[in-house]
Amino acid sequence: MIQFILRRLLQVIPVFLGTTLLVYFMVFALPGDPIRALFGDRPPSEAVIAALRQQYNLDQPFWVQYGLFLKNLFTFNLGVDFTGQPIAATLGRVFPVTVMLAVEALVIQAVFGIGFGLIAGLRKGKIFDSSVLLASLVVIAIPIFVLGFVLQLVFGVYLGWAKPTVGTDVSWSTLLLPAFALALVSFAYVLRLTRASVIENSTADYVRTATAKGLSRPRVVMAHILRNSMIPVVTYLGASLGGLMGGAIVTEGIFNVPGVGQKLYQAILRSEGPTVVAIVSVLVLVFVIANLLVDLLYAWLDPRIRYEK
């Protein structure tokens, strides 16, 4: 296992370096002057340009620039946004909110996705199964911002069951509506994956053995079919984190949740290039680490993975 962890860690390093290099290269090194682009139509004074160049290390050669960028990223020295606030401090304040939102969304999509997927898989070909499958296609097709507005309108405005916007009042209950909107992105995939996996495992030899030795149906389903079906689903839940982070930008914007996504959304609207890059780099770091953890979890759940070459 330790060998597997080490090998996996070593594989992460080039991916992380490559991804940050890509992000950095795209923003600061392609043709066009990023500093001038910051100002739009009104040209700034030369002194301002020089000061900004120095602030973003653009007067250094590219590799030095990138090295400094990486160093700053790892020491959480992310610079200041256009209002003069340090980005790291802002992120520290808003990150817990987004983590809460993401955890709530993850729980919702896991509970509903696995639940419906299990029932559909056990009743393959019946009416429940085909209607759930069709409904999941519809959910996949509706973009998250449409879903967000519809939920906001129906539950927040017309029915009045929840507050349509969150604002400063952040708690598990106020985040419920945006978490539902966010969860629906990957919910359908969790459902379909669970269903396929359950169908595959239902005909496995060990399930027949379990039934033959007289175990009750609930015990066979929970301990043998469901547990073995969870392996791909758990992996997918981890990988869906990337989609959740992209979705959080939209949901937090619609529901006015003071999280990372909203900060990113505001930075985009104000065209704050450097702030966008800083936040995206942190998110990519989180995503790469989360994927690493999922891989380790996968190896722990399924010993066959560990021993492959």
Partner: protein, 316 residues
């Protein structure tokens, strides 16, 4: 011992054994090819028929919007009509700026369909070429392309698009084509991975060895024999991605970094309708419905195609 539902059979009922399928094979005719077989299966599936008809209608709307509405989308915007209710000739009502919502929904189809179709073509060209080369030649070609794909893979699609749109080049030249470029740039690795896997699966098949021993060159055998046999999963993914790319374009336009405001598109219209969501939600809901229905048709088509073309999923 608790008996399960059915104890009269000591062997499985004949429908559950492969025997029935074996008996059904007609030995006096040539076997159907994968494509003919898939077509026969598809013709009978309501999901395929419904989605194909819907896509046909959407394509006609995209290319000939004038057939569906008399109102030019921007000519008759009158502030007197601001947020107006539906009236004869204007079934969906009016936007905040007093434009006809129905006409805007009809004329907005083109941008979404264009982005989807051309982005998929771009992803097919780049992804299939790189994936096929990586899978067929292996070795260092494979390593370089796989690592490059991994790097793009670690960048979630929306986040990556956010960064790319901040580039001076893309900020200064916002158009349908730059949005297509951004999508292709970020989305090719998935197609490349799939093609690579599919090519590796058929690369070592006997008929490839036979073709090679008959003197067919390596690159010729790749194009004429390997790729056509790896085509089924590629087509399925391409259909699904068409829907995904349309959503991505709308999301970017909704965030204000996709298509420029001068281009009529569903994403832009939904973004503009945000402010009046509580007073006049119809302005937001109609383009949103059009967008969802379009994406749904492509996803349904992809689903039907996968069922027909993927023999592995068919057995279940």
């Amino acid at each position: 011992m608790k008996s399960n539902q059915d104890t009269t059979h000591f062997v499985a009922p004949i429908e559950e054994t492969p025997l029935l399928a074996t008996d059904a094979v007609k030995t006096d005719q040539a076997p159907l090819s994968l494509w003919a077989d898939a077509w026969r299966k598809l013709r009978r599936r309501p999901l395929f028929i419904v989605s194909a008809v819907m896509i046909l209608v959407i394509l006609v709307v995209a290319f000939f919007p004038g057939l569906f509405t008399q109102t030019a989308p921007n000519d008759n915007c009158q502030l007197a009509n601001s947020d107006g209710a539906p009236s004869p000739g204007h079934p969906f009502g009016f936007t905040f700026q007093g434009c006809d919502v129905y006409a805007r929904v009809i004329y907005g189809t083109q941008a979404s369909v264009m982005v989807g179709v051309f982005a998929v073509i771009g992803v097919l060209i780049i992804g299939v070429t790189l994936g096929a080369l990586a899978g067929f030649y292996g070795g260092w070609v494979d390593s370089v392309i796989a690592r490059l794909g991994d790097i793009f893979f670690a960048l979630p699609l929306v986040l990556g698009a956010l960064v790319v749109t901040q580039l001076p080049f893309f900020r200064e030249n916002k158009s349908v084509w730059t949005v297509i470029m951004i999508i292709v740039l970020l989305a090719w690795p998935q197609m490349a991975r799939l093609t690579r896997g599919a090519v590796i699966e058929v690369r070592n098949a006997d008929f490839i060895t036979a073709a090679r021993s008959l003197g067919v060159s390596r690159i010729q055998s790749l194009i004429k024999h390997v790729l056509p046999n790896a085509l089924a999963p590629i087509i399925v993914l391409a259909t699904m991605e068409l829907g995904v790319f349309i959503v991505l374009e709308a999301t970017l336009s909704f965030l204000g970094i996709g298509l420029p405001g001068s281009i009529m598109s569903w994403g832009n219209d939904i973004s503009a309708a945000q402010s009046s969501i509580r007073t006049n939600p119809a302005v937001l809901l109609y383009p949103a419905a059009a967008l969802s229905i379009t994406v749904l048709s492509f996803i349904m088509l992809g689903d039907a195609l996968r069922d027909a073309l993927d023999p592995k999923s068919r057995q279940r």
